[in-house]
């Protein structure tokens, strides 16, 4: 096969993995709680900056790369920061609005505005170099195509996240509780279940996924900036919606489709067609299957 096709296919998969990583938390929260979390982009940014801060404190000053062990700590810091803001968001903002579904979505819009502006105010608009091991900046040669290693990292982590979320949903009661709780919160409490804790946990998980996604975006780009959240958010939305409500596998599938489509369209088609193609895909999929590729219609 042509090396350019390999290059585009593998990097397209990498891009899809990135989209999945930034979308998985959104998909989890949206799928289980039906809250389209507009603050997800803010979670991503906070995760990325937390990772950066951890890296700055861990790395010897002046160094632009860090060891694998420290890098793991960077990812964990991002994960933890995401989980924390997720849980806080649920407790402080979502919880008082349990019966006002639209308001839950709207409050995340306000949060997104406020947090985005706050990060901009504190960190400044300029991109900062994200700490990562040297190997993530190198390439691996596959049949003449130079694939950046960060793509392999993204693909690997994305697969892990996908599997973890699936296992989690299958083997714990949490998924059940939350799905039931969204339908009728009162009735779940009337079965003796503390549904609030379950909701908080879902937000924490979604936030953790976002935090991790933010950090990996930092590795993918090589840098992070406050605008990264809102830019990626729209792709995360598209991926979640195309994939279908409540289907994490659908999100993964959609992420791969969007990533590949964009990569190939950007290479082969005229300038700007790649973007239109993605938007068009969204419209066409929804008109044909309003619940998305793998989504279940809400009964």
């Amino acid at each position: 096969m042509n090396s350019i096709v390999i290059l585009l296919a593998v990097t397209g998969l990498g891009l899809g993995a990135l989209y999945f990583l930034v979308a998985s938390g959104l998909s989890l929260i949206f799928g289980l709680m039906r809250v389209l979390n507009f603050a997800h982009g803010a979670f991503l940014v906070l995760g990325a900056y937390a990772g950066y801060q951890a890296g700055v404190h861990l790395a010897p000053s002046g160094a632009t790369t860090i060891s694998n062990g420290r890098f793991t700590l960077v990812l964990l810091a991002a994960l933890a920061a995401g989980a924390l803001v997720g849980a806080l968001t649920e407790i402080v903002l979502i919880r008082p609005l349990y019966r006002r579904e639209i308001d839950q979505v709207l409050v995340t819009v306000g949060l997104a505005l406020a947090v985005g502006a706050l990060v901009l105010g504190i960190a400044g608009a300029d991109p900062i170099r994200f700490p990562a091991p040297a190997w993530t900046r190198n390439v691996t040669n596959i049949a003449g195509a130079s694939i950046p290693n960060s793509r392999f990292l993204a693909i690997g982590v994305a697969v892990c996240v996908l599997v973890l979320i699936m296992v989690f949903l299958r083997y714990t009661r949490l998924g059940l509780i939350v799905r039931a709780g969204v339908e009728n919160r009162e009735m779940v409490t009337a079965l003796g279940i503390d549904v609030r804790r379950a909701f908080t946990l879902v937000f924490a998980l979604g936030g953790a996924a976002a935090g991790l996604g933010g950090a990996l975006t930092g590795v993918f780009y090589g840098s992070v900036d406050p605008g990264l959240g809102s830019e990626l958010l729209i792709f995360a939305f598209i991926v979640v919606i195309i994939g279908g409500l409540g289907s994490i596998v659908g999100s993964a599938l959609a992420a791969v489709i969007v990533g590949l489509l964009q990569q190939f369209a950007n290479y082969y088609a005229a300038d700007g067609v790649g973007d239109l193609a993605v938007v068009l895909l969204l419209a066409v999929v929804l008109l044909a299957r309003p619940a998305g590729l793998l989504g279940k219609a809400i009964p």
Binding site: L7, L18, P127, N138, P148, S223, N266
Partner: protein, 385 residues
Amino acid sequence: ACGGSSSGGTGGSSGGGSDGSPVKVGMIYSQTGVLAEYGAEYRAGFEAGLKYVTKGTGKVNGHKIDVTWKDDAGDPEKASSNFTTLVGDGYKIIAGSTDSGVASQLAPLAEQNKVLFISGPAAIDSITGANKYTFRSGRQTYQDVKTAAAMVGGDIKGKTVTVLAQDYAFGTANVAAVKAVLGAEGAKVNSVLAPLSAKDFTPYAAKVKQAKPDLLFVAWAGNTTQTMWQTLDQQGVFGMTKVVTGLGNVASYGAYGAAATKVDFLSYYFPGAPKNAVNTAMINNLKAAGKTPDLFSPDGFVAAQMIAQAVTKGDPGNTDSMVSALDGWSFQAPKGKETIRKGDHAMIQPEYVAHLVKNGSSYTPKLVKTVPASELAPPAGYGKS
């Protein structure tokens, strides 16, 4: 309290030359928003310039200069509001415009309301020659590109030049300029445009390689810069062609990453480039104010010089007289001698070629050569649609 509105303010009266009344100057610039950094550089430069032209008195030709700063956040709508407020208050001199969108919004408004408008760092070519009332204190895209051409030397004929840019005004203006400048010299110019939303630049790097250019001209701005350079490096573009790009502000030096030392830079300005008394004065004034000289310091400084000229040689109450005072004016600026070309107000000025030198974990620019102003003059009517 209802009655006829009065415009108020002294600028509105048609008083004569140096009657000592204060002159109100309105600055509409990006204090916040994506270009806030440039805005801050501009503002510091202007204040240094004001100190220079008033010799610390705050007065020019007996007029106290009253400066009002307004934030447009890079949004033409807010710029338009600010403009209306200032002009409604009797301001006859407006300057600032960090963002090209704001500049092109304000230029026609200046003409309509007959006020002097001195555009700031906005690079868009069409501000030159926009109308009689519109000036600029900085460079335009054409001059940047022409500098890059000067770097290549004369043997460009028949060579392939690829422009890698983002698909929006700043990028496409650069493509147009390269086609105009190098195309005219016989180069085959093609372009690779990436949408602003692109997340992975591998396809573009691949396209660049496919084009096999003898020279790659990169026109890039914004927060994806670092990613883009890393991708070009990873795909081995530096090994196959000469790469030229514009040097950004100090904070951006790190963004080139491994590519930093492999690229030839055209530079609009960096503090070490020019050697003259005005530049030294600007740097000293900036340092005295606790600021650092940077990419767009001269734009602010020159704006102050231009305003001083306008109120000295012209009548601050009469826009036309200020326009005549500036039209065709030559003066010593921080970058050396600059001339406001008569008629279209192109700012004829030198630019620089530089390399980045790594020391420790940071980079410093080193001057390679100065491209004289005369070589960079845009053709008359360039950039008008």
